[in-house]
């Protein structure tokens, strides 16, 4: 320790290293052996959308944010208005309507 940081104790880096590793490895262990989850999700979600609307693959933004408790996968797809107008109207079947999660009912 030199005279400078004898007086100004800086924030230590080891706990940061530990936390970063814990978050990273939790994800890497879950993915071991499988393909990259984000890539698979992106591919399949795009396929579903492309079935109904023509999309430009270059105008798709995929972001993955890994948190300790929750991870978010953000997929940003630009849909031009003419493509939406050209898309056939799809009637939503009743069964596909979102149901209230069971967990919420139980707690009520």
């Amino acid at each position: 320790m030199s005279i400078l940081n004898f007086f100004t104790r800086n924030r230590t880096s080891a706990p940061v290293a530990r936390e970063r590793l814990q978050v990273l490895l939790a994800h890497e262990r879950a993915l071991t052996g499988g393909a990259d989850l984000a890539a698979v999700l992106k591919q399949e979600i795009l396929e579903v959308i492309a079935r109904h609307i023509p999309i430009d693959r270059d105008r798709v933004l995929v972001k993955l944010d890994r948190g300790e408790q929750v991870s978010t996968l953000e997929i940003d797809i630009e849909m031009p208005d003419e493509a939406l107008a050209a898309a056939p109207k799809v009637s939503t079947p009743k069964a596909a309507e979102p149901k209230a999660p069971a967990r919420r009912r139980r707690s009520a």
């Binding site: 080891a14 590793l21 262990r29």
Partner: protein
């Protein structure tokens, strides 16, 4: 019953070869018949670290391919008669090794040695997978540093899935050898502590080897540190790790930083020395 140990890490430069040579020498000094096998075909260095670089005639690839008999390729250590080395080839690459060939060599080594220590190359490719393939137990060498810990985690996953023992439904023993540990830096929060690394990797601890200039001196001289400077803290750590490998229950002492005087703390080590 002989035991096959793989010394592995994923990341390069963490001390696999130094640890293989030192543990091998410790086990041999304890009276066991030991062979250390270099799997780093193309980038062999175990011969250099063990001071046998001028005695290599045949190598692992020659034996695997049937160009030489095993006893012709084995080099007996000049200091310890029950310590041998099976060098890797320097001119070939890892593709020269086959699973069947390596399996045959390991089986033949099992007949005449108590301990077969496989010094794995870095990486997760063929050389590394073949080094771990026939192992009964694994020593995972890790530095308290993010990239080394991440790679060790990956290697632990491979040990649990790619070894013959794991494929047969068994469980391979894995133990952590933490090397280049600096107790003073860990105490200051600049380096992950032993507890940090153990919590992340979740395998039992085989030993802690502190960062030490003695290790470089030993490899400069081509002598395992456990033989060159048996009294040094690093050599004692390897000796104790070897005793744990032999089944002794020996508590691992976590190194504590040396007490620093006021002047050292104020002006740094060099100024006070």
């Amino acid at each position: 019953m002989s035991k096959v140990v793989v010394v592995t890490s994923g990341k390069g430069g963490v001390g696999k070869t130094t640890s293989s040579a030192s543990l091998g020498a410790s086990l041999a000094r304890a009276g066991h018949k030991v062979v250390v096998v270099d799997f780093d075909v193309g980038l062999r260095n175990l011969d250099l670290v063990m001071g046998a670089e001028r005695r290599v005639v045949f190598d692992l690839v020659n034996v695997v391919q049937g160009d030489a008999k095993l006893p012709q390729a084995l080099i007996r250590d000049k200091r310890l008669e029950n310590l041998s080395l099976l060098p890797a080839s320097q001119t070939r690459d890892k593709d020269a090794l086959t699973e069947d060939g390596v399996g045959r060599v390991i089986d033949e080594l099992r007949e005449s040695f108590d301990w077969i220590i496989c010094d794995s190359p870095a990486g997760i490719e063929k050389g590394a997978t073949l080094a771990m393939r026939f192992a009964d137990t694994a020593v995972v060498v890790t530095n308290p540093e993010v990239s080394s810990v991440r790679d060790s985690d990956r290697i632990i996953g491979m040990l649990d899935s790619k070894t013959r023992l794991a494929e047969g439904g068994g469980r391979i023993d894995k133990q952590l050898l933490l090397t280049r540990y600096d107790a003073a830096r860990a105490a200051r929060g600049e380096m992950m502590t032993v507890e940090d690394v153990l919590e992340i990797l979740a395998i039992p601890l085989l030993g802690i080897v502190q960062e030490s200039p003695d290790v470089l001196t030993a490899s400069n001289l081509g002598c395992p540190i456990t033989l060159h400077n048996p009294g040094s803290p690093a050599a004692r750590a390897y000796d104790e790790a070897a005793r744990r490998l032999l089944g002794e229950t020996l508590p691992v002492r976590t190194p504590r930083p040396e007490k620093q005087g006021f002047m050292t703390r104020l002006f740094g080590k060099r100024a006070a020395a």
